[in-house]
Symmetry: C2
Subunit: 208 residues, 2 copies
Amino acid sequence: MERPKFPDETIRRMPLYLRCLNRLIILGKDTLTSKELSEFLGVKPTKIRKDFSYFGDFGTRGVGYDLNNLVREIRNILNLDQEWKIAVAGISNVGCTILDHLEFNQPGFQITHAFDQDPELIGDTVRGVTVHDVTEIENQLSGEGIQLGLLAVPAIEARGVADSLVDAGVKGIINLAPIFIDLPEDVEVVQMDLSSELGRLVYHLTNS
Amino acid sequence: MERPKFPDETIRRMPLYLRCLNRLIILGKDTLTSKELSEFLGVKPTKIRKDFSYFGDFGTRGVGYDLNNLVREIRNILNLDQEWKIAVAGISNVGCTILDHLEFNQPGFQITHAFDQDPELIGDTVRGVTVHDVTEIENQLSGEGIQLGLLAVPAIEARGVADSLVDAGVKGIINLAPIFIDLPEDVEVVQMDLSSELGRLVYHLTNS
DNA sequence: TGTTGTGAACGAGTTCACAGCG
DNA sequence: CGCTGTGAACTCGTTCACAACA
């Protein structure tokens, strides 16, 4: 960890930048300014420049940024040059569809295991991955080096399943269940909560 | 808008509080302290007290907060006493399942319309709601007073569908598609992006 | 005593204004 | 001249320390 610490919000924007830059490269672009990028993403140019400046001078004054350099650097910062393996728990409801849908399957991520508690689903193959029973999490994952888990089970089961994932060595969990999960310090949990966002939306609509 | 402005982050936490408080009421509890709530939600007690203090003195020193008062007040602040109607676009993939799954169907929200572009789905009934073609959005929603939209279509179509929703009078959109949508000032957009969160997770795992 | 309520200090992130450079 | 890069000001949110009070 000799690398300077980047602000958390900057890190959060990196995947956005990356996705946009990749699209532009495919379209044959090779240089762009912070102003252009700003229009694609709705992020102010100064914020973009500040973000990019954290990892050194990648732009050329008067010209803009070299797309390929930028992509290489962001992938490097986010550590996407290695393949990150993901186990999905709760494949029936959200798990699989959300993955497809959010088209996050950019290079760098790979779904290797899927679990559910519905007997109907166990044994099925979803997206090329066989669905196992949630009670099998530890057995199946042990020694596989799975670092990430996507927790998409109902709230009541979320804590138990999260514990299983952690016991199996998972170090980072995205929790889609609307419940707080208390885990050891060395496990990172990111909460994605639709009702929080709905609440915020409704508040803004009535107060402005 | 005589009500004092609450910080955005406070508003975002309100639905979390609400959900937890409702559960506790069902369990027969009628009073709780900021410290107890803190343990349920992983939010520091001082933050909770600050949040609650924005809407006046609802606690009793030495005792804690009255659960029913609190719930009533939060529902009021979030404007959940009226019914908010939601149109879901992209029912096939995420739309419906995410709704079920995230069990956001707390009182205050109601899904009234569903749209998709897949001919296979059009005409089907999902959760008691008939699925219509996305091209029908304006026809179907006009005059219905739908305020909210859940945008769960692929990124390529997201902008077009968002425009339709706005033309039909929708004022708030939750965008699950991984693309920035530029809409008129008076329309509120909340972005929920899995890959941003995955990126953040991976960064933290490798840098700590 | 126990817990709320809150001004003040602190910290993180954004924006601004402009210096630096191709 | 145009666009990047950046210290400084500002804004927003969190935490702290402690006063207020049942």
